[in-house]
């Protein structure tokens, strides 16, 4: 590969130390005339990152910010060490705690949550055989190291304390018909305060208020106090201001602003802490997963414009980057290309960004967690 020629010496060093370096060539190249009926926008580019030639249809899918400068990065090869006879399924959620331990939510034969130490060694399973393990959708760790599991199938958010015991359950699993709940198949508007319908993510503000992304069927962000008491909600289905078209991810910054990822229409919708609409970012592709660096100090927003599982699609060629942004939406850089090799992205579904310039991803297709080290320039938010 071209990149390995450029970084040949570094690659040799990296391989000796178990690290692989990657760097991307800038996207761009000669323009080709648009094909009739599938005209890409004026000025669209014909190549995706990595030099993949795009059809006009794929050109239209490229995020507006695809020409953002590349951030140099490397992958820590073979980071995750699973014991014999323990298998990851699809990598769905990832989060780390204050001690550097890493929590993974995976769709295996049964939905499971694993804990690893900071070196990637297996520690234990969280919530084995729990009533809340129905269909994985994510895992997050709060400022107090509690572990929150988002289960789309149970329509529940389960808060485990650091010891791994369930201490609060938001929503309720349908035990059709045995707990009297009917399976809701349609969007409720307004949605009931305490019942979710395939929720997707959870986040907290500094006061401990809980924000739930709900989600696949409903299209709202619901806000609760730290005791789980409903405060308010915002959002409905659509692509207008404050609306969502598949609310798939959520993150909250230190000021309490709330960022909701609207995946199907490629927008990040921003609200203030009272869930009043503020602004929309529509230049960074489909936000499959969001992560805001916790600080202290300057915060950055990462969003993954994940590639689809099917490699033989135009969207696959036009996606697969993670963007690094300022909280106001300014794009600082991007990294990553779709693919199955270590260091490539095979449909990222979870991002953790607790440690500056370290990114953990969970990926659907290759059943894995990867750890990346970023080397941003000063202009990309790097430090000397």
């Amino acid at each position: 590969m071209k990149t390995r020629c450029i970084y040949g010496v570094a690659v040799a060093l990296a391989m000796a130390t178990g690290i692989t370096l990657f760097a991307q060539t800038p996207a761009g190249g000669a323009q080709t005339p648009p094909a009739g009926g599938q005209a890409p926008p004026a000025g669209a580019q014909t190549q995706a990152p990595g030099g993949v030639t795009l059809t006009p249809a794929a050109q239209r899918l490229l995020p507006k910010a695809v020409n953002a400068p590349d951030i140099k990065y490397e992958v820590v090869r073979d980071f995750l060490k699973l014991p014999p006879n323990v298998y990851m399924g699809e990598g769905i959620g990832v989060a780390s705690n204050s001690k550097g331990h890493i929590f993974v939510n995976t769709c295996a034969q049964q939905t499971r949550n694993f804990e690893f130490d900071e070196k990637g060694n297996f520690v234990r399973e969280i919530g084995k055989d729990s009533y809340g393990n129905v269909f994985c959708h994510g895992i997050r760790v709060d400022a107090q190291d509690n572990i929150w599991v988002i289960d789309e199938g149970a329509s529940s958010i389960i808060k485990y304390n650091p010891q791994g015991r369930a201490v609060m359950i938001l929503g309720r699993r349908i035990g059709f018909p045995y707990n009297g709940m009917e399976p809701p198949v349609k969007e409720a508007n307004p949605a009931p305060p305490y019942i979710f319908n395939r929720p997707t993510d959870v986040a907290w503000d500094a006061a401990g208020n809980i924000f739930v992304a709900d989600g696949y069927v409903n299209s709202r962000i619901a806000k609760y106090d730290k005791y789980g008491k409903f405060i308010k909600q915002a959002g409905s289905r659509g692509s207008g201001p404050g609306q969502f078209n598949l609310l798939h991810a959520i993150a909250v910054d230190a000021q309490g602003n709330v960022y909701g990822g609207s995946r199907s229409d490629q927008r990040i919708v921003v609200f203030d802490n009272d869930l009043n609409y503020k602004t929309t970012f529509d230049h960074v592709g489909a936000p499959w997963s969001l992560c805001i660096t916790p600080g202290p100090g300057h915060q950055y927003l990462y969003t993954s414009n994940s590639n689809p599982d099917n490699q033989d699609t135009e969207l696959h060629k036009a996606s697969g980057q993670i963007f690094k942004m300022e909280l106001d939406g300014t794009v600082l850089g991007k990294f990553g290309v779709p693919g199955k090799e270590q260091g490539q992205f095979s449909t990222v579904h979870g991002i953790d960004c607790r440690v500056p310039n370290e990114i953990l991803t969970t990926e659907i297709v290759e059943w894995r967690l990867q750890k990346f080290i970023l080397h941003p320039t000063a202009a990309q938010g790097g430090t000397k």
Binding site: Q110, K128, Y131, A166, I169, N179, I195
Partner: protein, 359 residues
């Protein structure tokens, strides 16, 4: 909302107690009395790999051990020939009086008794036998303390939900709520016994009756149908029998407890205690009736208080409210009151058992 109303009533009662007493009668004033109580917090110590789900039942034995019946992971569905088969889900655990885990009945999915499908309740009878009530298998099973099966009531359907069938369960048992008599249940919800060992089972969500069996499991009779009249039910959620053999049925959907004699003749009803979901009558010479006005699924912060009453329905006091913290309740589905001042409550929506001490 109701708790706010009750709080305002409390202020009213406190400030103009004499007037309120004259106007509403003494029982309502007494109803407002808050019983001071404590929670033992994380009382049960579970093995690392066992996690409670929705806890449907808790019951103490004569020596103070606890049996807990809860909904765990699963159940698993298997596609068979034109049917879906469902296995597993409900689990039965025993703890000692300090909350230390002792054992599980059936330690793997395939080892668990056939009736364990969707946990609804567990009770311990005066002879120390352990009875589970399973809503989905529609069975009530009696175990001795060694875990041996002594009696089964009802029969689990061969498959849940025949594909292409218009009915939910594929086997007719009469329209829901028609009070179908006989041996088989349609989502039974509890079990209780009189001094002679006769068995009383509220049945249930799919039916609307109380079924009575003799101590050997021979069907005697049943009474009730869907409705709001005397002897009718809208979800008979729980049941208790006092020392005289009177039968107390939590008629949850009708916001009342109905009292019957031992043959099912309606005697009286108790109101003003919300929608009773869990009943318990304490043993001993002076018996008390406990009833939980549990929160609904839709609101984990609505209601939730537990009432302590005389057997005639006179409210002695109340305690607790809905919520997620300790000293709060998440849909109490069962109360154990072997010791009238040391209660164990099973919480569906908080996935736990709390040990409550009344002061």
């Amino acid at each position: 909302m109701k708790s706010a109303r009750l709080a305002s009533r409390l202020v009213l009662a406190g400030s103009v107690a004499a007037f309120a007493g004259a106007l509403f009668g003494s029982s309502l004033v007494a109803q407002q009395k808050e019983i001071t109580f404590e929670s033992a917090g994380d009382f049960l110590k579970l093995p690392d790999d066992i996690h409670l789900g929705e806890v449907a039942g808790v019951a103490t034995t004569a020596n103070g051990n606890l049996w807990v019946y809860y909904q765990g992971g699963g159940p698993n569905a298997t596609i068979g020939a034109s049917r879906v088969y469902i296995n597993g889900g409900a689990r039965l655990l025993e703890f000692d009086r300090t909350g230390k885990y002792l054992r599980e009945i059936g330690t793997s999915e395939n080892d668990r008794p056939y009736a364990f499908l969707f946990a609804q309740g567990v009770r311990v009878d005066p002879q120390n036998n352990v009875w589970i009530v399973d809503r989905a298998s529609r069975m009530v099973v009696k175990f001795d303390q060694a875990g041996k099966v002594l009696l089964t009531l009802g029969r689990r359907l061969e498959a849940v939900g025949e594909l292409g069938s218009s009915g939910v369960f594929g086997r007719a048992s009469g329209p829901p709520g028609s009070g179908v008599p006989g041996d088989n249940f349609n989502q039974p919800l509890d079990v209780a016994w009189d001094a002679a060992g006769n068995i009383f089972i509220p049945d249930g969500y799919g039916n609307a009756r109380v079924a009575k069996f003799d101590k050997n499991g021979k069907f005697i009779k049943s009474w009730g149908a869907t409705g709001a009249g005397q002897g009718q039910f809208n979800i008979p959620a729980s049941i208790a029998v006092d020392a005289k053999g009177m039968v107390y049925v939590a008629d949850m959907g009708n916001n009342r407890i109905q009292v019957f004699d031992n043959d099912g003749t309606f005697k009286s009803e108790i109101k003003n205690v919300g929608a009773p979901r869990a009943l318990c009558i304490s043993p001993g010479a002076q018996q008390y009736l406990y009833s939980s006005n549990s929160n609904p699924t839709e609101d984990p912060f609505l209601n939730g208080e537990i009432y302590k009453m005389q057997l005639d329905g006179t409210v002695i006091g109340r305690f607790g409210k809905a919520g997620h913290q300790f000293k709060e309740f998440g849909m109490v589905n069962a109360i154990d009151c072997r010791d009238p001042n040391t209660l164990y409550v099973a919480e569906m929506m908080n996935w736990r058992v709390q040990k409550i001490t009344l002061k």
